[in-house]
Symmetry: C2
Subunit: 421 residues, 2 copies
């Protein structure tokens, strides 16, 4: 018996409340991310598709990375509460909103809220689905490397603005996951001058230095390490740079000053962990559309606004994932107001996102794929991806450009037992 | 011209929302504090008084020291918002409620929220009035002592439950205020056994040890210090115990075990900073009434429930202070809904509370009076108050029982410049 495909469809109005900052200094600003959400909405509602019966009413609200999103949610929620919340990204602001949304049984999907604390979905953050890999997922790349190369100790060096605390939370993920290794941490304040002497004294008894700081400070540390001959292979240096593509890779050492040559040599010891970039034909089209959208809106104050980053991809895919989950939940007889049910359908599943496959773990957190970049041509100062880490199955893949010598600690005197007279 | 006194009166209904825990393990539980609030209400509404026209509708809600108060406030605020909030006490729970109340322009008075972070009233906590002295106020006692005795360095030793974090916040106040001194800190987790060897190694290069821990752990540290002969006057030991009167003073060293004699000798070096207790006739009546109220309600599971502590006093006085401020604001033509105006009348003023004069500073935080207790009879192991610190004018008052030798560091070898050969 043939049944028309249409019976598979559901019809529903969904109020979506999106929290994104108007301020374009954020890489997840409204100007950057909104076009991706609208693009996803269009694709989902396209004639005849499985999800075309879902009518999204999307309301964008400003997020100020402090309490703005919380207060907006409160002040507009006495009447009709939203069915879905996208964002906020900033950790502290997100915590307040997700706490409240979880209390009200409203699903929240964010490409932010990446801190380790959000992993605990038992109580406060039960309705949170993280559509971008968290900092703890990123940290898996380091545990994989530490096991592969048999390193045991690291110093975590980060700058802490005591406001949004991105670098603090980034390396907190590493600290959180690497409890079995010998890990120390060193925070530098944003206001004070970098005391490279003190920093380098602290790396003395560790093998690996993992940094999260502004690009200029990374260079300062690497130059100081180079002057002290610590870049000769006796230490491994890493920086974590997930979002600012301009801060790593080719030329990241270059400033046009007299230190460029030293910096290039120093950076031969600096490896970067970043998000794995994938390219598929559909993604190219999406990228082009995003660029066009931003150009059309005339955001001239917004550097790089048309380029797709993890937040842009993530919030696009959030719409897809929600549509899939809502569809399943409603087919099973649940209403759109049953956030817990809908959220459960978003977890522990794999689906095709705009840039490739998206794998959500059982805890509702996206599995992450990361790339390890290293300088492969010291004369030219150019970088290549030398290895990839795939979060879903936990594999560490060495690429042709990988050179194992580059990752071998050299010239370290192992502690010998004292020889008695 | 004679005017009838009655024209001075105002008439208004005031909705008060009170957040106190039902759980009697908290010294600020509903069973303990509610009678004091009702006692204040009765006194204020007594026939003919200046504030008898204010009709308080008092709603008690449970506080769970996590998010309970926040969610209750949200869920009942879509209709009519309260005019005044009393509590919560616990820091994290209070932060969320005060943030929201400040956004909604509702005055909050708490005998808790004592952490240093709440001092910043410019933004998030603009509507907070603290009717009990904060931890930073307590810390003034230490700066006064350090200046008086010319001490320069201290180790802050505290236990951290990572939940309510009372001891963390207590000594954070000291850390916050004593930036000009040489301060180190040492946290011990609640789960792990106390490593007294490691702790005592850390006191090596400091003069003063300031502790906030459970009474048994304080004893453990003091016994270990005594065994190592560190209680001979070469170090000063303090503990901060603001709320649990049973944890300090006479017999606090006693457990009925074989270490009692050592502990008594060790405690000869342990001084306690606590709240200054005052007694005035009116207060005696209040204390009696509180005891009666609790007995009448039949709280048999509630140890010490009838005894008046800082929270009981504080929430009583909160009602008085609000009545005074509301009265002034309304006489000036403002409505009860103008929280900012009413709050401003609570700050920078002195009034007669249930236990004596209450002095509020310009920042809406109560000035604190604290007592320093020391063992004055080592044979009997008994304590006396030896000095008082008065926050309003910053004076440090030595009492007859004070013995300056007790607070003189002895046997410390000052660092001498090396003598050349």
């Amino acid at each position: 018996i043939l049944r028309p495909v249409m019976t598979n469809n559901i019809t529903e109005d969904i109020d979506v409340l999106v929290f994104l900052p108007q301020n374009n200094s954020y890489t997840f600003s409204h100007a950057r991310v909104a076009p991706a959400i609208l693009y996803a909405q269009q694709r989902l509602q396209a004639e005849g598709g499985q999800y075309s019966g879902i009518h999204f009413n999307i309301h964008f609200e400003n997020s100020d990375c402090v309490n703005g999103a919380l207060f907006l949610l409160l002040d507009r929620s006495c009447g009709q509460k939203p069915d879905l919340i996208l964002g906020p990204v900033c950790e502290y602001e997100a915590a307040a909103v997700i706490r409240l949304a979880s209390h009200w049984d409203i699903p929240v999907i964010s490409a932010g809220a990446l801190a380790a604390g959000f992993s605990n979905k038992n109580t406060e953050f039960s309705q949170l689905t993280r559509i971008a890999p968290s900092y703890v997922k990123m940290a898996e790349t380091f545990t994989a490397m530490f096991e592969h190369f048999t390193w045991r100790s690291a110093l975590l060096l980060f700058e802490d603005d005591k406001q949004e605390r991105n670098c603090y939370f980034t390396l907190e993920g590493v600290y959180h996951l690497m409890a079995d290794f010998n890990i120390k941490s060193y925070a530098v304040s944003m206001e004070e001058r970098l005391d490279t002497d003190d920093i380098l004294q602290n790396i003395h008894d560790t093998e690996v230095v993992i940094m999260c700081m502004g690009a200029d400070r990374i260079r300062e540390v690497m130059l100081a390490a180079h002057r002290r001959r610590l870049t000769n292979g006796s230490y491994m240096f890493f920086n974590v740079e997930l979002f600012n593509a301009s801060s790593y890779g080719n030329g990241s050492w270059k400033r046009g000053d007299k230190y460029d040559s030293d910096a290039r040599q120093a950076y031969a010891s600096l490896n970067t962990v970043t998000l794995l970039r994938t390219v598929k034909p559909e993604f190219e089209k999406f990228s082009m559309e995003m660029k066009k959208s931003v150009e059309k809106s005339g955001f001239h104050d917004c550097k790089d606004c048309g380029s797709v980053n993890m937040f842009v991809e993530g919030f696009h895919d959030a719409m897809l994932l929600y549509a899939i989950a809502l569809h399943e939940a409603m087919k099973n007889g649940y209403s759109k107001k049953n956030g817990t049910e809908i959220t459960s359908h978003m977890w522990n599943r794999t689906f095709e996102g705009i840039a490739g496959q998206v794998s959500m773990d059982v805890n509702g957190d996206r599995n992450g794929d990361f790339s390890l970049m290293a300088m492969t041509n010291v004369d030219a100062g150019t970088y290549e991806v030398v290895a990839n880490y795939f979060g879903e199955n936990g594999t560490f893949q060495l690429l042709p450009a990988f050179n194992s010598e580059h990752f071998t600690l050299r010239g370290r005197h192992k502690e010998q037992p004292e020889i008695p007279d």
